[in-house]
């Protein structure tokens, strides 16, 4: 009897009778990857379709449904680059200038405003914080006309100033709030230690808070860049000189709702327009996730 018991594998003794073995972990992970990749491809399909269309002759874009072009061509890129009478690079450069300056403006102004709200005490702080949050609820169209009148009175229409100056005045309450939450998660003891060592409020901000705020700053920088790059309405209102057009305005110039739009060149230039955003996002992805994840946590 004992020898028969010794011959039964230990694994078999441990498992309840009739229960199959679990699938290996790698199979489960493989299945999960397949599903997630499939969903990802589904979401990427419009971008892939646009890339495919940019490589087809214009007349084939809507008549050939397949993703692989039957007549591969780069003509759309050549035509699109010069279609507006100016190199498309000029519009990319305009967008880059506005986006970079907007990023700098937001980083400087929103971080200072957030530090004040999170760490400093001053009269009417709660009222001003409430007012700042209230601007989050305000639709842009409410301030659109007054802002335009303001900049027109200052003679700043048809310049980049109306697109950049507000960023240096902490108008983006979303980022201020994001940074406030992040700063509140930093231990006050660090501030106290610096103060004991003789740091002023500005010194605490510069030496202690700002270096620790890198993830939140990264989030602000990336989203400011993306939103500014994609902004259509504000440049539409303020920029009338074609040489100052940003990428969205330039892309809009390919459209003609009353007639035939230049779809091929439009898609080609759209693909080129997406590349900077893609690069920025890939480079800053790690900081982005860290910033979003830690902005509300200790």
């Amino acid at each position: 009897m004992t020898s028969q018991t010794n011959m039964i594998p230990k694994v078999a003794l441990l498992q309840p009778p009739g229960r199959a073995r679990k699938k290996p972990a790698y199979l489960r992970r493989f299945a999960a990857h397949i599903v997630i990749s499939g969903l990802g491809l589904l979401m990427l399909y419009p971008l892939i379709w646009m890339l495919s269309s940019s490589l087809k002759p214009t007349e084939a874009i809507f008549s050939e449904p397949g993703l692989i072009p039957e007549n591969f061509t780069l003509d759309n890129y050549v035509q699109g680059w010069n279609a507006l009478g100016l190199d498309f690079g000029i519009f990319v450069a305009n967008s880059a200038v506005i986006a970079v300056l907007s990023v700098i403006g937001n980083l400087v102004s929103c971080s200072l405003a957030a530090y004040a709200f999170a760490r400093l005490e001053f009269r009417f702080k709660k009222v001003m914080f409430g007012a700042m949050l209230a601007t989050l609820m305000l639709p842009f169209h409410v301030v659109l006309v007054p802002q335009y009148i303001l900049f027109h009175s200052a003679g700043m229409t048809d310049t980049f100033f109306p697109l950049i100056i507000p960023k240096f005045l902490a108008v983006d309450a979303f980022f201020i709030f994001l940074m406030v939450q992040f700063i509140r998660g930093l231990p006050r003891e660090l501030d106290d230690a610096a103060t004991v060592d003789g740091c002023s409020a500005a010194g605490v901000f510069w030496r202690i808070i700002l270096p620790l705020m890198r993830p939140a700053l990264a989030v602000t920088a990336v989203f400011t860049f993306i939103w500014t790059w994609n902004d259509f309405l504000t440049p539409l209102l303020y920029l009338t000189d074609q040489e100052l057009f940003t990428v969205p305005l330039a892309l809009n110039a390919f459209l003609d709702s009353g007639g035939a739009s230049a779809w091929g060149p439009l898609f080609a230039m759209s693909i080129l327009s997406v590349l900077p955003i893609l690069v920025i996002f890939i480079i800053s992805q790690k900081h982005l996730t860290e910033g979003i994840a830690t902005s509300g946590l200790k």
């Binding site: 809507f62 539409l236 110039a253």
Partner: protein
């Protein structure tokens, strides 16, 4: 006792007077008969291709008038009007800009447009466009826009398909004839439609033709609705009958086709034989498909009034706050009457409003463009009574017609209830 004139006060007065004259000079103040001068901002809707044409016309104007510095701003239609609305609120409209007949009343009522009456007959020659042309931008308070171009409504046909079935469109004179021809062309088994449904889209010029043929108007001079539920009910009933017979597409099919633009149009895809359109769409359709596409005039109601003809004007306006009214008026005249200007702008916006200018373009136009121009010139010889300026809120009638048209097509409401709803709603937005 008056204070003595000091050197300081005399110099101040002198400098002030010099500045005043200088500003007046910079603003383009030009006594009667002198050449225009100063800065002009010009606004137009369209893509880069149209902007190039108009820029070359502006360069021509600048060559003739060296003291004028003109710059062009453009955007596609919807963004253009968004920008215009904001600019108008800030008092910063372009000096000269193009406008549709559906929007002009709103700007005129707000005091944003200059009354061109004082220049008509002087700087702005009206012989070419005639009283009918001047009326295109007239309301009881003045003339706030003048047509540089006209578009006409038309019926586009797949002539190859019609010929294959032995249908002669030249015999189609009335809306009933149109329905009969469309029914003859329909092949439900193959998903082929005789006619496309215009009641579900955003353009209701065909309904405007129906109303004018009945002797009524879309709007009165007082800004109220000019037709009754019976006229609208007949219109909806006409299309509902064809929808039921399968002559026109079902609601889902038509809506899907409309939403995706010209590339998904059923005539373009050879899934329909006839459609209601603007004459200028002939070029668009021919650019997207092969075959012989015909351009035909609208059919008429059996009891149609003779003077129903109308053309969609493309109006040019001058900002009420322009600092350079004389030069702006001169530029308006340039774009309306100058043949060389028209040779640059061609028929990008439509057929030139002045017949002689339109005829001067014909030798250099493509075949389908010549068809369009000739059609409009032919139709302009028909009698046409004045079209009252569309009042503020008129764009809401378009939206209401689309909404109710869709509700009827999707059988959410009946024809009579739908027509009554449109009439009742109009009282809300036509003040």
């Amino acid at each position: 006792m008056s204070s003595p004139v000091t050197r300081r006060s005399f110099l101040s007065f002198g400098l002030g007077a010099a500045a005043a004259f200088g500003v007046a000079g910079c603003a383009g103040f030009s006594p009667q008969g002198s050449k225009p001068s100063g800065k002009l901002e010009i606004g137009i809707w369209g893509g880069a291709d149209r902007a190039k044409l108009y820029q070359s016309a502006i360069d021509l104007y600048a060559k003739r008038n060296a003291d004028v510095q003109a710059t062009l701003q453009f955007a596609d239609s919807a963004p253009y009007f968004e920008r215009l609305t904001t600019s108008a609120a800030a008092g910063n409209l372009p000096d000269v800009f193009w406008m549709t007949d559906t929007n002009i009343a709103r700007y005129a009522d707000a005091g944003a447009l200059m009354d061109l009456n004082k220049y008509i007959g002087g700087s702005i020659k009206k012989d070419g466009i005639g009283e009918a042309g001047v009326d295109a931008g007239r309301n009881p308070k003045g003339v706030f826009g003048l047509p540089t171009h006209f578009n006409s409504q038309a019926i586009l046909t797949d002539n190859d398909a019609l010929a294959a079935k032995g249908v002669s469109f030249s015999q189609v004179k009335t809306w009933d004839d149109l329905a009969a021809a469309a029914k003859q062309m329909t092949n439900s088994a193959e998903g082929y439609y005789g006619l496309l449904d215009p009641t579900l889209g955003t353009n209701h010029r065909s309904f405007e033709a129906w109303v004018r043929q009945s002797g009524a108007e879309l709007f009165t001079d007082e800004g109220k609705l000019g037709f009754d539920a019976a006229v609208l009910g007949d219109w909806f009933a006409y299309w509902a009958k064809m929808r039921k017979e399968g002559t026109i597409p079902a609601a889902t099919t038509q809506t899907e086709s409309d939403s995706a633009g010209w590339t998904s149009d059923l005539l373009v895809k050879s899934k329909a034989a006839i459609r209601v359109a603007s004459a200028s769409h002939l070029g668009v359709v021919k650019g997207l498909r092969q075959g012989n596409i015909g351009l035909n005039s609208y059919p008429v109601r059996n009891d149609a009034s003779k003077d129903w003809w109308f053309f969609t004007p493309i109006l040019v306006c001058v900002s009420a706050k322009t600092g350079n009214a004389d030069a702006a008026a001169d530029m308006v005249n340039f774009f309306i009457n100058d043949k060389e200007a028209a040779s640059h702008t061609q028929i990008s916006m439509g057929t030139p409003a002045v017949p002689d200018v339109a005829k001067s373009l014909i030798p250099n136009l493509k075949e389908d463009q010549v068809l369009v121009v000739n059609q409009i010139l032919r139709e302009m010889e028909n009698p046409r009574r004045r079209v009252p300026l569309k009042p503020e809120g008129s764009d809401k009638l378009n939206s209401a017609l689309t909404r109710i048209g869709q509700e009827i097509a999707f059988e959410k409401t009946s024809v009579s209830n739908g027509a009554s709803a449109v009439i009742a709603d109009a009282a809300q937005y036509l003040k």
